[in-house]
């Protein structure tokens, strides 16, 4: 693997549409569940161990060669909220576009043909990691990190939170990111042997409910 390529892919400025999504933070802020750095930390920890773990495992399994079509269906089954499924596919499509320009690969072209309107973002992320010459662990780290970095930067905009505090939240989560990435790779290996039923299904009901409410707002800053 190339550590340089990993940094390019993990960079929040990688132009794959993430900036328009809050990862549920906008709904949580409105509901009064995220009000500052401490509650942002709690929110991110919850997201990391639920949606983050599932995403990281999907990404790892995709790198390990599990059929993306099966992974995409499994991701659907693990995403009860239609709004979140739409957001995940949108982000998947945008990532696919950016990655096909940055790391051209026949596999990504095939995925784009199979899913012209986008596959779940973590599944695409796994194949992008392969195209970039990265491994399952790298993809798992990217997915796990994105699951918390998105809400953190959105909260800076939503609450005018001190950006240093938001970044400190992420830094303090680093040991847990390591843990989730490890678990995801392990689970991803099991998926290779046992099929997609071995994927974790750690759901976060408030994220799902919040996303549905959010999608119906007339005025919002973020797409999800």
């Amino acid at each position: 693997m190339s550590r340089g390529a990993l940094l390019v892919l993990a960079d929040g400025r990688f132009p794959a549409g993430g900036h328009a999504h809050s990862g549920g933070a906008e709904a949580a802020v409105k509901a009064g569940r995220v009000t500052g750095a401490a509650s942002l930390g709690d929110f991110c920890r919850g997201r990391l161990h639920t949606a983050g773990l599932v995403s990281a495992t999907l990404a790892a399994a995709a790198v390990l060669g599990v059929d993306p079509v099966e992974l995409d269906a499994a991701a659907d089954a693990r995403t009860p909220s239609p709004a979140l499924r739409v957001a995940a596919r949108k982000l998947g499509r945008q990532l696919m576009r950016a990655a096909r320009a940055t790391w051209p690969s026949a596999e990504l072209d095939a995925l784009a043909r199979e899913f012209p309107k986008g596959a779940h973002q973590p599944v695409v992320l796994g194949l992008v990691a392969r195209a970039a010459g990265l491994g399952a662990e790298d993809a798992a780290y990217c997915a796990a990190y994105e699951s918390v970095s998105g809400p953190a930067s959105a909260t800076v905009r939503l609450l005018s939170l001190d950006p240093f505090d938001a970044t400190a939240v992420l830094a303090r989560l680093a040991p847990e990111l390591d843990l989730v990435a490890d678990r995801a790779v392990e689970a991803g290996r099991r998926v290779v042997d046992e099929g997609v039923d071995a994927l974790p299904c750690a759901s976060a009901p408030l994220l799902e409910i919040g996303a549905e409410a959010h999608a119906a707002w007339a005025v919002r800053l973020f797409a999800s």
Binding site: R13, P15, A16, G17, G18, H19, A20, H21, S22, K90, R93, Q94, M96, R97, A98, R100, A101, P104, L108, D109, A112, R113, P116, A154, R157, L158, A218, V219, R220, L221, F222, A223
Partner: protein
Amino acid sequence: MHLDHTHDGPAAVSADAHRIDGTRRALRIGLGGPVGSGKTATVAALCRALRDELSLAVVTNDIYTREDAEFLLREAVLPPERIAAVETGACPHTAIRDDISANLEAVEDLEDEVGPLDLILVESGGDNLTATFSKGLVDAQIFVIDVAGGDDIPRKGGPGVTTADLLVVNKTDLAPYVGSDLGRMAADAKAQRAELPVVFQSLRTEAGVADVAAWVRAQLSAWAA
């Protein structure tokens, strides 16, 4: 021969002039400029002026609502399926410059669903004087300012005023009321832009959007050539 790998898959990548089926894609023109300067009003007027001679569509980038798209729908300047709204996550300039993926998707979907199209107008969510469109998203850009925003804006320059393919100074009808000196604005714009064109317009008068529409037609002829 053009052996670009990106033509193998279903989605063309950003600036490619051709769609995957080999046909030439629509010309894409961006409209940027500060909030309230008259971008949506100019888009609406352009649609009315051009819709009988061209196949066109509009993408709006609202900051936190779908207001621009809804205004265009309410005014019925185009059928609803020809108007798409992109959400920008509180950063309208990011969506037109640094991370254009959602906008590219919107233009592609419009071409897929209501195409073939000759022209797509992309309106940015009103922003500051530094917001410009990426060349990966649009082929040409119009920067819209107005006389009420202060007649020193052309003098101040900035990427929009200085480099846009067309600078539109809108709401000239208001100049007497806000004490803006149009002659000075024209001279300052000339100093900033050298040979690049500037149009002074008022959408409240008979001539309306005619000069901008003529400029768009010229861009289209050059694109089709």
